[in-house]
C-alpha cells in the first residue's frame, strides 16, 4: 500500500513537472508572440528574435520557435541599417533557423514561404550578381508552398511582394503584383490559424496593395 502511495505521489510530481514544462513553453511562446506582434522597429524585432532564439535553442524538438526566430531575424535585418556584409550574414542566420524548422516539420507550406522570403531578401543584398539565380530560386520555393497549401495567403503575399520589387523587364512590376496581392487579400479573409501557427501579413498585404495603385 505504501509502495502504491509512493508511486502515485511520484507520478503526480513527475506529471506536474511535465505540465509545468509544457506550461513554461506555452507561456514563453505567448510572450514571444506578444513581442512579435508589437514589434515595428529593427530593435524590437531583434529583441523578439533573441527571445525566440533562446526558446529555439532550449526546445530543439519544436518547429515554431525556430520558425519565429528566422522570421524575426529576417524583419530585424530588413529594417536594420547594417552594412551589406552583416545583412548577408544575418539572412544566412535567419535561413539556418528556418532550415531547422523544415527538418522538424518537413513539407510545410509556411516554412517554404519563409524560405522564399529570405532567399529574395538575400538576393537583394547583391542583386546584380544574384538576381539571375536567386529570383527563380525564391519563386520556386513559393510555388512549392502553394502546391502544398493553395490557400496559404502568405505564399501569395510574398510572391506578390517579390513581384512588386522585381523590375518589369525581369517579369515583375506593379500590375502583375497587384493581381497576386488581390488573391492574397482574399485568402487572408478565410485564413484559419490555430495556436501559435503563422498568421502574419494581412496588414502588409493592404499596404502593398495601396502602393500598387
Amino acid at each position: 500500500m505504501k509502495t502504491l502511495k509512493l508511486c502515485i505521489a511520484l507520478l503526480i510530481i513527475t506529471f506536474s513537472v511535465k505540465a509545468q514544462s509544457a506550461d513554461k513553453y506555452t507561456a514563453a511562446m505567448q510572450k514571444g508572440m506578444t513581442l512579435v506582434d508589437s514589434a515595428s522597429t529593427a530593435e524590437q524585432f531583434t529583441t523578439a528574435a533573441n527571445f525566440f532564439e533562446r526558446v529555439a535553442t532550449a526546445e530543439t524538438k519544436q518547429w515554431l520557435p525556430q520558425y519565429y526566430a528566422g522570421y524575426c531575424i529576417l524583419h530585424a535585418t530588413i529594417l536594420g541599417k547594417q552594412d551589406n556584409e552583416t545583412k548577408d550574414a544575418s539572412y544566412d542566420k535567419a535561413m539556418s533557423y528556418v532550415e531547422k524548422a523544415e527538418a522538424l516539420k518537413p513539407a510545410n507550406s509556411e516554412v517554404l514561404v519563409l524560405e522564399g522570403y529570405i532567399t529574395f531578401m538575400k538576393m537583394s543584398v547583391f542583386s546584380q550578381q544574384r538576381a539571375m539565380t536567386m529570383i527563380p530560386k525564391a519563386n520556386a520555393l513559393l510555388e512549392k508552398a502553394l502546391v502544398i497549401d493553395p490557400e496559404n495567403p502568405r505564399a501569395f503575399l510574398v510572391k506578390g511582394q517579390n513581384t512588386f520589387y522585381t523590375p518589369e523587364s525581369f517579369g515583375g512590376g506593379k500590375a502583375k503584383a497587384k493581381e497576386i496581392l488581390t488573391t492574397a487579400a482574399d485568402k487572408y479573409k478565410n485564413q484559419k490559424a490555430s495556436g501559435f501557427e503563422p498568421a502574419w501579413g494581412a496588414r502588409r498585404c493592404q499596404v502593398l496593395l495601396q502602393q500598387c495603385n
Partner: protein, 714 residues
C-alpha cells in the same frame, strides 16, 4: 512520517521557483565599443536578454547553481562565461570579439582571380562574363579583360604573363580539357568550345595555383559547372550568326538539359566586309546533354557530354609564291565529363571523376590532305579532410591516357602516353590572420619515361580589416605540345617556376589588387626550322630537344568599383610585362609575338532603367607586339603599332510573347581602328603582307527567349 517527506519534496520544489537571481551587465568589444542586440542566454533555459543601444542587459532567473551564460550576435564570435546563481545579483562586464566573415577572411589570392556568383570575393560574376562588351559570350575573350592576360590576336588560347596559349590549361569540374578550342586557322583565333552559361564560377589563376592542377606551365582556368536548375524551362536564341535551342526538365532530385546550336557565319560575312578571303565561312554545329542528380543533400552527380562539328574553308596568302593557299578544315570534337562529390560527413569530402575528350581534325592545304587527332582519357579521385573551422588536408590521384596522331597525305605518326599523378596539400590557418598552403604534386609519364616533383606553397597575411598581402611560390611542369611529342620520343618536361607577391584591398563595393610576379622558364622545347613556323596544319621539325629557357616579370593592377555610380560598375586592369624566351627555333632569347609590354582594359557597365537595358562598353589597349622580319638581323626586334579597340553591347530586357527575353546588339571596334596583328614575309624577305583582324568591325544581333524561367542554362 513519509507524508511529511512528500510534502517537503513538493514544497521545496515549488519553493525553488522563488529563489531568483538578477543577472545584469554590459557587453563591449576590446576597443570599448558597445554592441546592441547581442543575445544573452542562460544555456538550456529560456532565460536571457538582449543588449540595449548602450550595450547593457539585465534579466532575472529562477535557476540556481552553476550555469553557462552564452552571448552571440551576427558579425561577432559567439562566446560564453560560467556563472554561479545563488540569489545574489550578478553584474558582469563581458567582451565580444569580431568574427571573421567570408569577405574579410584571409584567403590565398596570389595569382588567383575568382569569378562566379557564390563567392563574395569574386571579381566577375557569370553574368559579367556573358555580357562583357566585345567578348560575345566567349569565356576566354571575357577573361582577356583581366590583368595578367595579353590580347590573343590571331592565335588560339589565353596568353598569360608571357606564356604561350598552350601554357594555359582548362579544367572542367577539376578534369583537364585537352582541346578547349576549335582548330587553329591561319592568323585567326577560334572561340572557346564551352558556353559561359554552363558555369556558376570560374577561377582564373595566372600563377602559383594549387597542386590539384597539373600540366600547366603558366595558367589554370578552372570552370565549375552549375548545380541543379530550379525549374523546367525551354530557351531559344536567334542570332545573326545562327540559332540555338535547349530544354531543361527538372525532376524531384535531378535535371536533364538537352541543347544544340547551329552557327553559320556566311550571311554576316557577306554583309560586312571581311579581311579574310573565305571560301566557306565557318559553320559550327554543337549539341550537348547535361544530367544532374542530387541523391542526398550533401552529394551531387554531374554528367556533361558535348559534340561539336566545325567546318571552314578559306584562302590564305602564300608569301613565297605570291599566290594563295586553299585551306579546308573540319573539326569534330566529343567531350564527356562525369563527376561525383559527397560531403558524407562534416569532416570529409570525396570527389571522383572521369572524362574523355577526342578531336578529329582533317582538311586540305591545296591538294595535300592533313589530319590531326587527339584524345585524352582521365580518371581522378580526391579526398579532403576538414580540420577545425577552416583548415583542410587534401590528397588525390589521377591517371591519364593521352595520345595524338598527325597525318600528311599517306604518311602518319602518332604517340601514346600513360601518365599517373598524385598530389597532396594542406591549407592551414594560423590564427585568424594567416593562412598557409603547402603541397606538392608528382607525375610520371610513360612516353617521356620520367618523373617530376612539383612543390607549391602560398601564404596570405591579413594587414587590415579589408586588406591582405599574399605570396606564392611553385614549380610547374608540362609535357611538350603534341606536335613535338609526335616527332620525338626523347623530350622531357618543360618547367616553370613562379614567384608572386600580391596586395589586395576588398570591400563589397571596391576591389583593388596589385600583383608583382617573376616566372622562370627552363627546358622549353627547341628545334631546327627555317623561317618562322606556322601554327596551323602540319610542320616538320628536326633536332627537337629541351634546350629553351626564358623569363617573364611584371606587375598587374586591377581596380573595380561597383558602388560609386548608381546602376553602374566599372573595372580597369593594367598589365606590365617584361619577357624574353628562347624556345621553338629562336636563335636567341627574344620577346615572342604574343607578349605585349603594356595591356590596358577598361570595362564599364551601366543599367539604364528608362530603356530597360544594360549598356556595356569595353576599351582595350595593347602596346605593339613583335613580329619576325627576315631582313632585320636582330631577331624579333620589330614591333607593330599599338592595338586599340572599343566595343559596346546593349542588352535590352523585355518580354516576348509573355516570356523573358533579351535583345542583344553588339558592335566591336566602333571607331574603326586600323589594327595590324603582324606581318608575314616570304623567306627571301622581299615583300611583306600585314595580318589584319578577320574583320575591321564585327556586328552581332540576337534574341534570347526563355520559357518557364528567368534564367539561361545553356
Amino acid at each position: 512520517m513519509k507524508k511529511y517527506i512528500y510534502l517537503l519534496i513538493i514544497i521545496s520544489s515549488s519553493f525553488s521557483a522563488f529563489a531568483q537571481t538578477r543577472v545584469s551587465g554590459v557587453i563591449k568589444t576590446s576597443n570599448g565599443k558597445t554592441i546592441p542586440g547581442v543575445n544573452i542566454t542562460l544555456v538550456n533555459t529560456y532565460d536571457g536578454a538582449s543588449t540595449d543601444t548602450s550595450g547593457h542587459f539585465a534579466f532575472t532567473t529562477t535557476e540556481t547553481g552553476a550555469h553557462v551564460l552564452h552571448y552571440v550576435t551576427v558579425g561577432f564570435k559567439p562566446d560564453s562565461v560560467a556563472v554561479n546563481l545563488n540569489g545574489k545579483p550578478l553584474n558582469l562586464s563581458l567582451t565580444i570579439k569580431e568574427a571573421v566573415s567570408e569577405l574579410n577572411a584571409v584567403t590565398i589570392t596570389a595569382g588567383t582571380i575568382e569569378t562566379g556568383d557564390a563567392k563574395k570575393g569574386a571579381v566577375l560574376s557569370s553574368i559579367d562574363i556573358a555580357t562583357t562588351a566585345g567578348a560575345v559570350a566567349d569565356i576566354v575573350a571575357a577573361l582577356q579583360t583581366l590583368p595578367g592576360t595579353s590580347q590573343a590576336f590571331s592565335e588560339n588560347g589565353l596568353f598569360v604573363r608571357g606564356g604561350s596559349g598552350a601554357e594555359t590549361r582548362t579544367y572542367f569540374d577539376g578534369m583537364l580539357v585537352k582541346s578547349p578550342f576549335s582548330s587553329q586557322l591561319p592568323d585567326i583565333s577560334s572561340r572557346s568550345r564551352f558556353s559561359p552559361f554552363l558555369f556558376k564560377g570560374t577561377t582564373f589563376s595566372s600563377g602559383g595555383y594549387s597542386a590539384q592542377y597539373g600540366q600547366a606551365l603558366s595558367s589554370a582556368l578552372i570552370l565549375e559547372s552549375k548545380d541543379l536548375p530550379e525549374k523546367t524551362s525551354t530557351e531559344f536564341s536567334i542570332l545573326t550568326v545562327g540559332f540555338g535551342a535547349a530544354h531543361t526538365e527538372r525532376f524531384a532530385n535531378s535535371s536533364l538539359t538537352v541543347g544544340g546550336i547551329y552557327y553559320n557565319l556566311h550571311p554576316t560575312y557577306s554583309v560586312f566586309k571581311q579581311n579574310i578571303h573565305w571560301d566557306q565561312a565557318p559553320i559550327d554545329k554543337t549539341g550537348n546533354i547535361q544530367y544532374k542528380w542530387k541523391p542526398t543533400k550533401s552529394s551531387m552527380l554531374k554528367v556533361f557530354s558535348q559534340y561539336s562539328n566545325n567546318d571552314v574553308s578559306l584562302f590564305t596568302d602564300n608569301p613565297d609564291s605570291a599566290g594563295v593557299i586553299h585551306v579546308i578544315d573540319h573539326n569534330k570534337n566529343t567531350y564527356t565529363n562525369i563527376t561525383y562529390q559527397d560531403n558524407f560527413n562534416p569532416d570529409w569530402r570525396i570527389q571522383a571523376g572521369a572524362s574523355y575528350g577526342n578531336t578529329h581534325e582533317s582538311g586540305k592545304l591545296d591538294s595535300n590532305n592533313f589530319r590531326k587527332n587527339d584524345h585524352l582519357l582521365q580518371g581522378r579521385f580526391t579526398l579532403t579532410r576538414y580540420l577545425g573551422q577552416r583548415s583542410l588536408l587534401r590528397a588525390g590521384a589521377e591517371a591519364y591516357q593521352n595520345g595524338a596522331l598527325e597525318g600528311w597525305n599517306n604518311q602518319s605518326r602518332s604517340f601514346d602516353d600513360n601518365m599517373q599523378a598524385a598530389f597532396t596539400e594542406g591549407e592551414v590557418f594560423l590564427g585568424d590572420n594567416v593562412v598557409m598552403r603547402l603541397g606538392g604534386r608528382a607525375e610520371h609519364s610513360s612516353y617521356l619515361a620520367d618523373w617530376n616533383l612539383a612543390p607549391r606553397t602560398s601564404l596570405a597575411v591579413k594587414t587590415g580589416t579589408h586588406s591582405q598581402v599574399s605570396m606564392a611560390y611553385g614549380i610547374f611542369y608540362q609535357n611538350p605540345d603534341d606536335t613535338y611529342l609526335l616527332q620525338s620520343h626523347q623530350l622531357g618536361y618543360e618547367k616553370a617556376t613562379h614567384y608572386l607577391l600580391n596586395y589586395q584591398y576588398l570591400t563589397s563595393g571596391l576591389t583593388f589588387r596589385v600583383e608583382a610576379f617573376y616566372k622562370q622558364y627552363a627546358d622549353l622545347t627547341k628545334y631546327d626550322y627555317d623561317g618562322f613556323p606556322k601554327t596551323y596544319a602540319v610542320n616538320n621539325y628536326s633536332n627537337l630537344y629541351n634546350g629553351g629557357d626564358g623569363y617573364a616579370k611584371g606587375i598587374d593592377v586591377f581596380w573595380r568599383d561597383k558602388q560609386s555610380i548608381p546602376g553602374g560598375d566599372y573595372y580597369i586592369s593594367y598589365s606590365y610585362l617584361d619577357t624574353k624566351r628562347d624556345f621553338r627555333n629562336y636563335p636567341i632569347q627574344a620577346t615572342p609575338p604574343f607578349a605585349a609590354k603594356h595591356t590596358l582594359n577598361i570595362v564599364y557597365k551601366q543599367y539604364i532603367p528608362v530603356i530597360k537595358s544594360e549598356l556595356s562598353t569595353a576599351y582595350a589597349f595593347s602596346s605593339g607586339r613583335t613580329y619576325y622580319n627576315p631582313n632585320n638581323p636582330d631577331f624579333l626586334s620589330d614591333r607593330t603599332k599599338a592595338y586599340n579597340n572599343l566595343s559596346m553591347n546593349l542588352s535590352y530586357l523585355t518580354r516576348f510573347f509573355k516570356q523573358f527575353a533579351v535583345v542583344y546588339v553588339s558592335v566591336n571596334n566602333i571607331p574603326g581602328f586600323n589594327n595590324i596583328y603582324g606581318y608575314n614575309y616570304p623567306s627571301n624577305g622581299s615583300t611583306r603582307e600585314p595580318v589584319y583582324p578577320a574583320a575591321k568591325r564585327n556586328y552581332l544581333f540576337g534574341l534570347l527567349v526563355t520559357i518557364g524561367d528567368n534564367t539561361f542554362n545553356h
